[in-house]
């Protein structure tokens, strides 16, 4: 239980980090936070060692490199929405017909599309933030020693990962890696992919060990 309490904090941090990275352009504050933790920075090895970071200011990097890459990857050339990958007609479904949105609704979650600046709630950044929300909820359950709640939340996480995130995100991230033109997004994609695969194993393992499922 104690170990899980420590792990959940890191899971929350990582989901917070990767969802933020995928949801909107980076800014100086975000990069500062990313760089201040050596462990997190170690997940971005190419970025860490990138010579350009020493040559020009962070502001210029953001404006001239990262924003350009973000626009290319998330707005123009790739389509970061689940329904695009899972529907035969490759249409983005933004209404209640979208099973992801139906799921959020069932669990009383609402996505504020204007804050997210996305056209549909099945955006990769939103799905990852949903995982973040589930982890936060799990943390509360852990703090309350609510085993039943923890197990229920792990079940939800597993189902959401299996039925949604892992159905399409790996494919999308492989595309991001290939298309990326900056180490930040390359490493970010790699980190996200590897973390998601690892976390799915972790969830399964915990359900097994802790919840007896």
């Amino acid at each position: 239980m104690d170990l899980m309490k420590q792990e959940i904090e890191n899971r929350i941090s990582l989901y917070g980090l990767i969802s933020r990275l995928m949801l909107k352009e980076v800014d100086e504050a975000f990069l500062k936070h990313l760089e201040q933790d050596d462990t997190i920075l170690s997940f971005f090895p190419n970025y860490r060692d990138w010579a350009k970071r020493k040559e020009i200011s962070t502001k210029e990097l953001v404006e001239q490199y990262y924003n350009v890459d973000y626009t290319n990857l998330f707005l123009m050339h790739l389509v970061p929405y689940e329904s695009f990958y899972t529907r035969d007609d490759q249409m983005i479904e933004s209404g209640g017909e979208n099973p992801v949105i139906a799921l959020y609704n069932d669990l009383d979650f609402r996505v504020e599309l204007d804050a997210a600046r996305v056209v549909s709630a099945d955006h990769i950044g939103v799905e990852l933030e949903f995982m973040y929300m589930l982890c936060v909820a799990q943390q509360k359950a852990l703090q309350a020693d609510d085993k039943e709640g923890v197990c229920e939340l792990l079940e939800v996480q597993k189902a959401f990962m299996k039925e949604h995130v892992l159905e399409w995100v790996p494919l999308f991230l492989i595309n991001v890696k290939k298309e990326s033109r900056t180490p930040l997004y390359h490493d970010g994609a790699e980190l996200t992919l590897e973390f998601l695969l690892s976390d799915f194993e972790y969830i399964t393992q915990k359900l097994n060990e802790y919840c007896g499922k």
Binding site: L14, S19, R20, N46, E112, A116, C135, P183
Partner: protein, 1108 residues
């Protein structure tokens, strides 16, 4: 990047399992997370409400039964977390989400011709709380089968037009003592205006002579209604209906009339395999585009291909499977090339490509083959080598296969200046689609050129040969099959109870003797004719009675000064009080034309008027019913007008919209109370109410009768409103749209209606024994020596047939031969320069033959800007923000480089006519080099370049200044001296608007006038520089111009124009006098009687002519 990175960091992947190991990160997740989720679980519990924060689908719409009262959450609802978190606003819960009670009043858009359904959302909450009754938004009407609840930007912009800060609030009269164009106005009332206008009309009609019946002209812009307009002059016994058709669609109408007897086609986009557009019209601008584009998108989703033929890369061309840039005006050659290959080649399985079953049964080849004299004429002209021996169908096919064989790939590539591979690909796509090829031949080439109509005529030929003109699924049908026209059919609600009789005069100012076949009224040369004494004297000397002036000229929602070519000539004519004695514009907005009228009478926009409006946008018969939303809302809440036939005006005054009226009530009241108050002129009876003859007919009375003509509507209304006195009217008021018939396919094949031995044809009963059949199968009766064709025998079946004289599609247009144009009675195009000179009537005035100097270009002016197509939308803040009056001139990049022209340069564009050789002047435009127009062809839309001469006008005794087109037109200075006219920009519209940003009118809707960031100064009024080019046959203005360009001088400003309008008059005269074949002493009638349309029914007496 991927490879090199991974190579450098081989251990990274292996480390993935260590994510959660070790110490906790020093950065918490909340630092990173964006926070896009809100959980309802965290919010306080609130009472259950009926609101659904998120509709299940985007297509959600309130059900019809809730339209009279539908409460909707404020637009900020979803941002604030919904009623689930905040509850609904009330006294106890002031922080809740605001909910507004609306009444949804259905109406129809009036910003283009498509008539998409709208609903006006009238805010009842504010009104019930003591505020003003207002429309808060316009949305779609989901009941409308054409638009299906969807609208384009122009539909939603209706609100910004309704609450335009510069809206004309009351009738205006030219200030006594001032001259037209001085811009001095006084406030008047509708009754004062009607009194003076009514008296003038009364006095003119009272003369009763032939000339007087030609001196009142009702000039209708985009009508957006079906049949009411012509009724106005008709009931006065006048030949006085003028349309704007000849600057819009006359070429396409001419082509379609020659083939089908109908004047426009109606494609079945949704089921086509190939969408073949000439122009961007259907898919991104212009006719019916919102409805058409949706269906085109659906067809493409099913696998249909899209071809766009256009010298300009429009939005449609950009997304098409094939862009076919063709030298403007030479498209005829390309269509005949398709015909050549269809006739002379076989399919991949060796089959004929001609659809013989269709062509043999439904094309009038038999009449052509029987006309041996004409066949000999074709041989003599070299169209065919010799006259076929027999007159069989097979010989016909062999003959035309030979006739079109010169239209080879090589010829087309040179003539159209197009790459052969594109032409070949087009052909393959055309053949692959079989009979499912849909097109809409309307504007573009057909209105751009001398002989533009021949482009349409030839365009239909490959469609006919392939069987795509059979009106079947996925192919091309016809307009009359779908359109419902009952707006003028309220006669039974009037004292007269019947239609007026036919009118006995023929107005030469509308249909001059030079243009007996034009399609239709020659309104674009009206000022030229009015001011041409020599022309008038010439015809009067030959026995005609051409008037030398107009007593009353009435543009209706029309702006001829600005949109017609040769605008200075229009101004010249309108300023002449001896030529136009009285003029008034029924206009919702300020316009350049208003400036030169005696009265400006503000009429309603889409949600402020009644119209029955139907269009052929698909194989269905639907109609829209336009409603004045505020009137309907008031009446439903129990308000009653003082005068039942003036309810719309009274309602608009009560709701604070202004003294805004509508045409139907206006004309009825004008006629009954002012034109013919005692009934002595015989006019009153057609407008006075049958229910209460002391007053004009009311709207419910009128529409109850008009809609009664539609059986299904009538039956449904009676069932839905069993206790109503006016069930038809009430049902349409409440629904705003109706579909009378679906799946209208191949109606020409339908059997003639028959009961026993009696045929029922267009309301007439005809005994079978009276019906005769000619050798070609046409079924006809004879009455007073005249033949009336009622149907056609096809393979033993008595079918309704097409609308032509032969009841078949007319490859051979017999009447064209009889009316002096035998060489063009079949689709044809010259193939050599020598022939192009001989056959000049079907060769464009911008043919590349005329491009001699390196800076000579063809100027393509005909493309619509999808957000700004009508003069009535000029001051829509919403639309103007998108368009900004911006209208650069497109030039091909290599041409620009060659001439040293860069993006943003001011260029002088000088227009020269190729018929007369005269120069018209120039306009200064902003150059934009682009790959989006073909080499040698410039593009500059004629839909922008608005101007005004004053920012605002002062009205004596009225506390506020009235703004003039503050959002859509910059301020200009004008000079004109009878020969030369100039216009020079003086100030951007942003400056003018800034001065009155605190609008006195409709403040709530105009809080952002300090944010007008566009100045409107990058367009020019090119229409004024362009001379009128009347096509000798179709009569349309041929819009394209031959121009030469150069960099502008240092004193030139973008927006400047310099016009030699004395020369422009001569250009128009040259086109009229050199190219036409006018009526002469051999003619006994003015125009073939079976050809549409004098809009006002004219008698045999009117048709007859005797030229001495």
């Amino acid at each position: 990047m991927t490879k090199s990175m991974n190579n450098k960091q081989p251990s990274f992947v292996e480390s993935r399992r260590t994510f959660l190991k070790g110490t906790a990160f020093s950065v918490a997740g909340a630092t990173f997370a964006t926070g896009v989720f809100k959980t309802i679980a965290d919010t306080p519990a609130v009472a259950e409400t009926k609101f659904t924060p998120t509709p299940q689908t985007l297509a959600f719409y309130p059900p019809l039964e809730e339209w009279n009262s539908f409460t909707e959450l404020d637009g900020n609802d979803w941002k604030r977390g919904g009623t689930g978190r905040n509850g609904v606003q009330s006294e106890e819960n002031p922080n809740g989400i605001k909910a507004t009670e609306y009444m949804l009043v259905p109406t129809a858009c009036s910003n283009c011709e498509a008539s998409c359904g709208l609903t006006a959302w009238v805010d009842l909450s504010t009104y019930k709380a003591g505020g003003q009754l207002a429309v808060k938004k316009y949305m779609g009407n989901p009941l409308h089968s054409g638009s299906r609840g969807r609208n384009c930007a122009k539909g939603y912009a209706t609100l910004s037009q309704m609450y335009d800060p510069d809206r004309i609030p009351f009738p205006l009269k030219r200030a006594p003592g001032s001259k037209r164009g001085e811009g001095k106005w006084v406030r008047t009332t509708w009754d004062e205006a009607m009194k003076e206008i009514g008296q003038k009309i009364h006095d003119t009609l009272k003369n009763g002579d032939e000339i007087s019946k030609k001196q009142i002209i009702y000039h209708v812009g985009r009508p957006n209604e079906n049949g009411f307009g012509p009724r106005v002059p008709h009931t006065m016994g006048l030949d006085g209906y003028d349309s704007h058709t000849n600057i819009c669609s006359a070429g396409a109408r001419q082509a379609t009339i020659q083939w089908t007897g109908d004047d426009r086609n109606n494609p079945d986009w949704a089921n086509a395999k190939l969408i073949f557009l000439q122009s961007s019209h259907a898919a991104d601008a212009g006719h019916y585009f919102q409805q058409a584009a949706g269906r085109i998108a659906e067809a493409r989703k099913k696998g249909a291909k899209l071809v766009v033929m256009d010298p300009r890369m429009s939005n449609s061309a950009g997304m098409a499977d094939l862009w076919v840039p063709c030298w403007p005006g030479t498209e005829t050659a390309l269509y005949l090339y398709l015909a050549n290959r269809i006739l002379n080649e076989k399919g991949i399985n060796g089959e004929d490509l001609v659809n013989h079953e269709f062509v043999k049964n439904w094309v009038n080849w038999d009449r052509l083959m029987a006309d041996r004299e004409y066949l000999a004429y074709l041989a003599e002209r070299g169209y065919v080598k010799s006259v076929p021996q027999g007159n069989s169908y097979e010989e016909f096919i062999a003959m035309i296969a030979e006739m079109y064989s010169p239209y080879t790939l090589d010829f087309v590539a040179k003539e159209c200046r197009i790459e052969p591979r594109i032409v070949e690909k087009l052909y393959d796509m055309f053949i692959d689609a079989g009979t499912r090829v849909a097109t809409y031949i309307w504007r573009a080439g057909t209105i751009g050129h001398k002989g533009g109509w021949m482009i349409g005529r030839s365009a239909f030929l490959p469609f006919v040969l392939r069987g795509a003109m059979a009106g079947d699924e996925g192919g091309v049908g016809l307009h009359e099959w779908s359109v419902i026209s009952v707006n003028g059919q309220g006669d039974e609600a009037t004292v007269a109870g019947v239609k007026p009789g036919k009118v006995d005069v023929w107005n030469e100012l509308i249909w001059p003797p030079e243009y007996p076949l034009s399609s239709y009224e020659m309104s674009h040369i009206l000022p030229h004719l009015l001011l041409d004494d020599e022309w008038r004297n010439n015809w009067n000397a030959k026995g005609l009675q051409v008037p030398d002036k107009l007593a009353v000229y009435v543009p209706r929602m029309y702006n001829p000064v600005w949109i017609n070519p040769d605008g200075f000539r229009w101004i010249e004519a309108l300023k002449r009080e001896d030529k136009v004695e009285l003029s008034f514009n029924l206009s919702p907005t300020w316009s350049e034309t208003n400036w030169y009228c005696d009265y400006v009478l503000p009429t309603g926009l889409a949600g402020e008027r009644h119209d029955q409006h139907s269009e052929a946008t698909e194989p269905k018969r639907w109609l829209s019913f336009r409603n004045p939303a505020l009137r309907v809302a008031l009446e439903k809440m129990g308000w009653k007008p003082k005068h039942p036939a003036r309810a719309t005006l009274e309602a608009h005054i009560k709701a604070g919209l202004g003294e805004i009226w509508e045409e139907i009530e206006f004309w009825a009241n004008l006629m009954v109370d002012y034109v013919d108050p005692d009934g002595s002129l015989g006019v009153r009876q057609y407008w006075a109410s049958k229910e209460d003859p002391s007053r004009a007919v009311s709207i419910p009375e009128w529409y109850q009768v008009a809609f009664d003509k539609l059986p299904l509507l009538r039956k449904t209304a009676k069932a839905a409103y069993p206790d109503s006195k006016y069930p038809n009217y009430e049902m349409m008021r409440d629904r705003g749209t109706w579909m009378e018939e679906d799946h209208v396919y191949r109606p020409q094949e339908r059997p003639l209606k028959k009961e026993g031995t009696t045929f029922l044809v267009e309301g007439h009963e005809i005994e079978e024994s009276e019906v005769q059949k000619d050798e070609f199968g046409a079924l006809y009766i004879e009455e007073e020596g005249k033949r009336h064709v009622i149907g056609v025998d096809v393979e033993g079946r008595q079918a309704q047939g097409f609308e032509t004289a032969s009841k078949k599609l007319e490859f051979y247009s017999q009447y064209l031969k009889e009316w002096k144009w035998p060489e063009y009675a079949i689709p044809i195009y010259p193939t050599t320069k020598e022939d192009r000179e001989k056959m000049t009537h079907v060769v464009t005035q911008v043919h590349h033959d005329f491009m001699e100097k390196e800076n000579d270009f063809a100027l393509n002016t005909i493309f619509r800007l999808p957000y700004n197509i009508h003069t009535r939308s000029v001051n829509s803040k919403h639309l103007m923000e998108i368009s900004q009056n911006h209208n650069p001139i497109w030039i091909y990049t290599e041409d620009a480089k060659r001439l040293g022209i860069k993006r943003g340069d001011a260029v002088k564009v000088t227009i020269t006519d190729t018929v007369s050789g005269l120069e018209s002047g120039y306009f200064i435009a902003m150059a934009v080099p682009t790959e989006g127009t073909m080499p040698g062809v410039l593009a500059c839309s004629h839909h922008a370049g608005r101007w005004k001469l004053k920012n605002a006008v002062e009205i004596p005794g009225f506390e506020h200044k009235l703004g003039v087109m503050g959002l859509g037109a910059p301020l200009y200075e004008m000079t004109m001296d009878g020969k030369i006219g100039t216009l020079k920009p003086k100030e951007g519209l942003d400056q003018g608007m800034e001065a009155r940003r605190d609008s006195w009118q409709f403040k709530e809707f105009n809080k952002d006038l300090d944010n007008i960031w566009w100045d409107g100064l990058s367009g020019a009024w090119q229409n004024a520089v362009a001379p009128s080019h009347p096509d000798p046959i179709a009569g349309n203005h041929a819009w394209h111009q031959k121009v030469s360009i150069e960099l502008a001088g240092k004193d030139d400003t973008i927006g400047d124009i310099y016009v030699n309008y004395e020369n422009n008059m001569k250009v128009t005269q040259a086109w009229r006098d050199k190219l036409t074949r006018p009526l002469n002493s051999s003619d006994t009638i003015r125009r073939p009687k079976h050809v549409k349309r004098p809009a006002v029914p004219l008698s045999d007496k009117a048709y007859s002519v005797n030229i001495s």
